[in-house]
Symmetry: C4
Subunit: 249 residues, 4 copies
């Protein structure tokens, strides 16, 4: 019976229909459990607390069920039922349940916790949305591309950050309008990524020259991830094709 | 005679000059029929209603003519003249004619319909512009690319939406300036796509840090469709070349 | 002697050092001749008129010299010295000289022409800058890429314009803030190209939803030229390599 | 002993652990030495001057150590200890140390130098950050891509600048809002790179038409670096693979 249970709740790599059903059910629950986050604590409608309670209860059951079949999920562990608690995914699962329990306490004893702490728990609850990535097939293709490209993308990231810092240092000392270095850093990031809100703009001629040079070079910097991801995607397609050919033989 | 008629109005895959002529005529009519939409209902000049009437009349004739040769266009159907009405393209055709007829009623009996409904019909008329896609050759090449790329693009879309929602949730609870969650969602979408209007900007330090992290990661997210489309386009070119080689043999 | 002259002024495909020298000289003259355009007519300094006079004189000499060797430049023409005037490049050359002559008249007889006409001639003078493209080597590589990609890019352009028009039509009827359809068209273009000035932004919820959908789909539209240009560039590199291999054999 | 020293301070191509350690140490020192730059001269905290002193001292020691093993680092030179001073990298090293020494003078003799000069030295100190590029492995991969792409990227840069200048010239004479040509140039650069701050926007119909045309063509211009970098990256990957295959044989 425990094996049957594991077949249902494990990740859906083998296309078992019960597994897929369980996954879709969990995805709906996760999305519903994020609903309370779309309200400010002071403007939260009443029904939100019930949604929260139901979602947390389902998460707790899911956590216990997974614990129950830990020896199937982690066959390499010596003491699976004890070591399960210290595995990375179960820890994230537990962290994403915790705020829900804390919220329940807050509602029963309002003096117990301050509004500030409640906001903190809300932030922690955002972690829960990461669980969505666990339950979806289409992301696995992208994950292969990202895996292929992660090393050069890290180098580009380091390059872009260096570029942003140099731009910030130059503009911070040339343009008098910046309050502190962080503002210059924010301006350079928003400009390099071509978002360009326009809340902070250069007003002096030298500041504008730096902006122009920085923007033009920035296009080449932005072109780098594009090239890397394209190459990574083409490699992933080739590997897939090779595997299909192997399977046919 | 009905076969000759079908030769004229069918889609121009075989480069028949009469077909092409009919297509260009219809494209001009469609563009003219969109003219009323470029005016607000209260500021609409008089001549617009005549353009509308002529365009709708031509559309009705086109619809009847296509019905008349339905057995040529859909050879697989058993009762082509009856089943034609339920085919997807004829339904869109009919929907795009309907507002025109409704507008005529509105103008003859002004008490009949409210201004609000008229606005709704105007929106529905936008659907008509989709017909342009039906009548143009150059889009067929792009359609092949889009077809090649549609599955990974959907995965990227899901990834981007997840990314936008997570960014929105974080900024909504960190930055005090947002009225509701929808505003945070709007801000995140406008920022990730690097449009960056600047109507909603972070003002606190934490909000700006989230913006910076979000923008930099966003570049990699934007690079994904670029890579997918490039691969899809190169595949489409290869397939075309192979087909040309086959034809030559 | 006329052949020697032709060797000097012809386009520098064979790397003749005198040709290259002449090209660089002409490029400097063209850039100098654009200087008057960087001033508003009412704020133009005095020395600008002398720069203009010298540049126009050199252009006239260049035009006459090219006429003088027209039979070498256009060996296919029957009456090269007569037909030269009607060739596309000489016509552009003449058009770019004309404003300079007109400006001279304006300065000698100020009553002769209005300020408005002067502005028009100034705009026409911008055409002159197109001549720069004629005198530079590095652009020829890019021209090959653009030539490879021009047909699919045109299809993408048609696609993007259709997309912009549909977005404009929808937002124009949903968002009350737009004065006329042109403003909606301007907004859609600035948003799709991810420039996003923020001078016109949606303020209603429905307007923002349209903006969000439009921006996200827009990323895929922007990815198309990127893919086409990448494929076109790779093809250009391959062709170049093949040619080099042929030359070596 | 001098050979051992050279093993430690040389660039880490052979993965020597002592070399890597020295590199990481120097990277930390360089980043720390940039800290004073993140404060405005008038708001600089006291401890910053000590950080500056320590960093400059380490840089001087590094400079002397490298001089001491100049014959190992530049084996081709006849008089390595004399010619070392005129090598490009040592000159940059010296330039990046100089402001630190000048700052010390400023602090001991405040009358000696004006605040303005101090700002200039601060700018020069930004050069120091270029040293970071010297001490990092991950940038070497990117450097190969950039090297592959630098020639076509230069052509694109020239193309983009020509495009920006033409756009500026046209908008400057059509749109009355621009103060001088530099403002038009700044506007065109910010628009072409799709940053789009929105601090300078067209308000007339003709200005907006120019903006729309310019933005749409601009997308193709931005697609060019993307294509070039993609091709350059793929070539770099192929070359790397070929080299690995050679090493295996």
């Amino acid at each position: 019976m425990r094996e049957k249970l594991y077949q249902i709740i494990k990740s859906p790599t083998e296309g078992n229909s019960e597994t897929t059903l369980y996954d879709y059910f969990m995805m709906v629950v996760i999305i519903l459990s994020l609903l309370p986050l779309t309200y400010k604590p002071e403007a939260e409608p009443h029904w939100v607390i019930y949604v929260e309670h139901i979602a947390v209860t389902i998460f707790i059951i899911d956590y216990i069920l997974r614990w129950f079949v830990a020896d199937y999920e982690y066959p390499g562990l010596k003491l699976p039922f004890l070591q399960y608690i210290y595995q990375p995914m179960p820890i994230i699962d537990l962290l994403s349940i915790l705020p829900g329990i804390l919220v329940s306490i807050t509602y029963h004893n309002p003096e117990f916790m301050t509004l500030m702490l409640l906001r903190l728990t809300r932030l922690a609850r955002v972690l829960r949305s990461l669980k969505i990535l666990e339950y979806s097939h289409s992301f696995r293709v992208l994950r292969a591309v990202i895996k292929n490209s992660i090393r050069p993308l890290k180098a580009v990231l380091a390059f872009a950050i260096t570029y942003i810092i140099i731009s910030s240092l130059i503009i911070f000392h040339i343009e008098p309008g910046f309050k502190d270095f962080f503002e210059a850093l924010y301006w350079a990031t928003v400009s390099l990524t071509t978002v360009g809100y326009g809340d902070i703009v250069p007003t002096t001629m030298f500041g504008r020259i730096v902006t122009m040079a920085s923007s033009i070079i920035g296009i080449a910097v932005i072109a780098l991830p594009s090239g890397i991801v394209t190459a990574g995607y083409m490699k992933a397609l080739e590997e897939e094709e090779e595997e299909t050919n192997k399977d046919l033989k």
